[in-house]
Symmetry: C3
Subunit: 471 residues, 3 copies
């Protein structure tokens, strides 16, 4: 049996002097509230505030980071609780999924998922032993018991983490009733805000594009069979989101350019695309054009635009068809931000009302592209290292690259981007520690005074994302 401990200096650098400075910085940052302006939780969690059903479902099955790592050890998807869409086989139950986690616990070593899980198991579930085959049943049962307590109800977790605001990611077709109910709930003071993510409505290659357009028309009462109405309907939903508290949009479509299309051709092209026509080049061009439209609207309505690109999803088509999306088989691809964004930044990069946050899963772009771009355009900010890069060394490399090319002031601040409520505390804790480690090096190398380092730390961890995302 191995003890499960959270060392107070975990993730701070080795070396007496640097660790001391890092600790000092961390002490300034640790007590700050959390802002979570980008995430993927379901608002219903907070509305219903019911206990989570099963710890394995919560910590394994629904977390595609963990699913991916365990599947890589040869564990079948079913044995991780992932059911087939057409159920000819049965996914296994929580106890067995938990057993698989315990069995392969060692294989998670050196990954951030392991560090997050340790944090959650220790702090939320009260475990004091590392999971292992020998304690699988005992830890599963202990975790189940804890899940049933009030302490682990969604609203309790929100409070425990010191969250000030938490945003969800929502289709423009979402009516936002849950968000509205939460806003008017007098029994609770948490803030759960929606984020406008229009991918299915601006990417004609999205399955169900035509149906989504029809639903958009229905929802807004605006005809979407012409390009102008379509734009108007999209804008109308942005307004509805803003009224419901949204301050940002998010965009994850594949993008290779951001040229505006010829107005003379747009109407015809849109009509073809909305009926499932159009070449793949036209689909691509339209997607790029729509990013421009979204940026243009953002200049007007002030919603902060977020761009998440460079991921190929559902890599093995058969597996996606059988098991659905978000099961770990999404991978980075290359994006040339300099070339891709040139038209869009030429139009809006200096616009005082525009804010664009760029995320990447290709860390080579931090020093070569994103850092230089955000170091010139006032509208542009570098998003936190994301997904595969949301990890201690990756983050430290990103701080180093962006800090030198752009200055830390052009980093948008940490976002947890999570589907895991339990993980929010762990993710912010890790990021804050790594940040303080990076800054402690600058201090010890006499590149930055401790006062300014403290300001940079608290700005990145709290003040800047709060201001930038207007939450």
């Amino acid at each position: 049996m191995r003890p499960l401990e959270l060392h107070p200096n975990r993730l701070l650098p080795a070396g007496e002097e640097q660790r001391r400075v890092a600790r000092q910085l961390f002490e300034a940052v640790e007590p700050l509230p959390l802002v979570s302006p980008h995430g993927h939780l379901d608002a219903n969690l907070f509305l219903h505030n019911e206990p989570f059903a099963d710890p394995a479902e919560l910590l394994v099955t629904s977390d595609h980071y963990v699913v991916r790592l365990l599947h890589a050890q040869g564990v079948p998807l079913e044995a991780l609780g992932i059911g087939r869409k057409e159920g000819t086989s049965q996914a296994v139950g929580g106890r067995q999924v938990w057993g698989n986690l315990c069995e392969h616990w060692g294989a998670l070593a050196s990954t951030p998922s392991r560090l997050w899980l340790e944090h959650e198991l220790h702090e939320l579930f009260g475990l004091r032993e590392m999971p292992s085959p020998g304690n699988a049943d005992a830890t599963y049962e202990a975790a189940c018991d804890r899940l049933a307590t009030e302490e682990l109800l969604p609203r309790s977790l929100y409070q425990r983490f010191g969250l000030e605001v938490l945003t969800t990611t929502d289709s423009p077709l979402c009516e936002l009733r849950v968000h509205q109910e939460l806003a008017s709930d007098q029994t609770w003071r948490g803030r759960i805000l929606p984020t406008y993510r229009p991918d299915e409505l601006v990417d004609p290659s999205h399955p169900g594009f035509s149906a989504s357009l029809a639903r958009l028309a229905e929802l807004t009462g605006i005809e979407t069979d012409g390009y102008d109405g379509y734009l108007e309907a999209l804008r109308s939903r942005r307004e509805a989101f803003a009224r419901a508290g949204a301050t940002a949009t998010d965009h994850g479509v594949p993008v290779t350019g951001t040229e505006r299309l010829d107005p003379a051709e747009l109407a015809g092209l849109f009509r073809r695309l909305s009926h499932g026509g159009g070449s793949s080049a036209e689909v691509e061009a339209f997607r790029g054009h729509m990013l421009d439209e979204m940026a243009r609207m953002a200049c007007d309505d002030g919603l902060v635009m977020q761009l998440h690109v460079g991921v190929v999803r559902d890599y093995v088509a058969d597996t996606a068809a059988t098991y659905g999306p978000d099961i770990g088989q999404d991978f980075p691809t290359r994006t040339d931000y300099i070339r891709t964004l040139r038209p869009l930044l030429s139009r809006y990069g200096d616009h005082p009302g525009f804010r664009l946050v760029l995320y990447t899963v290709d860390e080579t772009t931090f020093a070569r592209e994103i850092g230089p771009l955000v170091s010139y355009f006032p509208a542009l900010f570098a998003g936190a290292p994301w997904w595969f890069l949301d990890a201690p060394d990756s983050m430290a490399r990103a701080f180093s690259a962006l800090g030198e090319t752009a200055g830390l002031a052009k980093l948008a601040g940490f976002v947890d981007d999570t589907r895991s409520l339990c993980g929010i505390g762990a993710r912010h804790d890790l990021a804050r520690r790594v940040l303080c480690g990076y800054l402690s090096r600058l201090v010890c190398e006499h590149r930055l005074g401790i006062d300014e380092a403290t300001e940079q730390a608290t700005a990145f961890a709290y003040h800047r994302p709060k201001a930038l995302f207007k939450v």
Copy 2:
């Protein structure tokens, strides 16, 4: 005169605490036997077990890493012992080559070749002075004397390094007689296993492709003028290799895709290609298709597939024509692993009988492509940093990138990939030290306990490659 010393803490991190932990880890790893499941030595060395002729030939001329670095200082290839294929000029003798090494010893500073050479000169050749122009003759003669001793015979070196198994790389056209004789040699207990490397038989752009096909037919007794016979003959050689102890194949052809070709067109295409026809696009497509076939066979026969891609060889055509291959003028090129491997991984990435080890000379792919891919597909493993990246800082960066995206458990373990018998001990020593340095950081940052770090260290250095490569 500068002393040549091997500090016991060489390559371990500075900083008292981290060095102490690294030392502790290294002490667990150092005594483990070596497994060398990927290399380029000639099996005859061990069959005949004769003394090496000349230290300069051994340490300089036959090591293209060293040739490259000395040539970059302006030393002509002839002066490094590289003869012209059509001998109008004469390569110089060992004493002069050694003199050139001594002359430019300082130019090797900061390269891994320098560290390996220091290790070999100190441990095998008993030198206690750094080579320099002033001691060129004396060190050359001392080295010659040592080479003549029994201690430096190939079998003695095998034993001295603690090798448990060592593999060669062989054409399917190789009859493996040497391997068979070694296997039945009662006077020696070393294991020298072949590896199946079919590049010349699956890449129609290879010079002598047609002749190789004819030789394949002759060797197997299977007609290779049709596609089916060709496949059958390749499979038959895989079986012969497996019977001779092979557990792996290696593939180094240029590859831009792995789509299977239309069965209806394959027969005709193969016939054209085997007669020197076919467009360059067809050659490329065929190479990709044949990777698929090799993977398919690997699922059946269990040979571990290794993919070494992303190198442009014989960069200056004239120089290659004059001096031949492997003289240091090979360079990395870019490979998009995500896109290239999608068809192949979609077919076999989940196959329980399949194992694919990916090597790269483009370190940007560790975090962006290889780490994410191996973190999902059970069949896939990340190969050790290779060639230009087989160096302390490069290795540490690879551990960092792969450790976070995939977990160390998805690293295939160290392979020395060497053409230099003398260097095997030095290369494993260096890699093990760097590994322990990386892990000591995780321990000192409280990201991993010392027990688990020790397990990870011994797994990477010994247990995992032994199990993964089935040696």
Copy 3:
């Protein structure tokens, strides 16, 4: 008020042992004279030796690194002193520009510009307080006063920095009168040498290409309406530059290949291009061809060739049209050095008279491309990390990547590449400290002895660039 101090150990690594070694190395390097074989100052500065007019113009407006970072904070270009080319608006005066610097001083934290400015303000301007909104007027006035003193005259700065030689960058159309007057000036012993930069004469897409050709003919007395005369005229200007002391050329055109064009077609192509004709593919091919011609001439006349590629300039066309070039809106793009340079290196890479220094703003090419290439070709050297990469951590990464793949001996040495006379001392100081930090790690990890590390440090900082650039 925050004190402005230059710590004696600034930029040296944390950790007692490593810092001590770094300090020891730095003490060997610090007193060495500066050589500055690549820069962008105006030779007139030294001829007239007049006081600089305004500290804000000097340290902000004329430094596009600083302009970029302040513009990224939302400061309009006019408010940084950048005037419109067609002056409908007025750029603000020095005091206001300085005020903007003070206002956003914190936003420069973690950038090298901040470190350089701190150095200059402390050492040259005698400030002992960090700029801030509260001291903007006082510090501006203090700086103005200092600028008027003899100590800050251009020739005094040259002397103060310990410069041995400083080169400018000049069009072949420059008559070099200023350089000649300086050379024959008996009152001063500084060396200001020109560098031949023919971009406007070898890139047909350059605005005014035809006019430049006409001017070239006029200057040389050689007809440039045919290809042979054009080449001859270019060669003649190289000779004139060499007579004026030039030892190098510099090339910054976009380049995607270096194939020589068919001689039979060159005459006709050149004629078309010189009259503004030719497709963009032809323009591109011609630029590549002209790099070959420049390399060929370099083999003859011994001018060191420098290649600066991979930058897209004047990103927002409207902004460039309004405010001109060099205002911070230039960004890295990707260059494939392996493929692009293959023809050129195949021809000249082994030529004993040829030297080519490669610069990049894409750090991924250090380990993948530039390091491997310079580790084979005797003619080739890796240029210092440049522009966005001229920063502490970026430099350390470059040393690490190039040191392992090529050996430090293949680094051309530091060049400041600056437009800012005041910054030269600061830039060399920073680079030397980072170099010593890197080397101290090798020493403390027992990868290099302190003697050799000292040799490597002094070579990189002084001896190698002096020898390599023949200054």
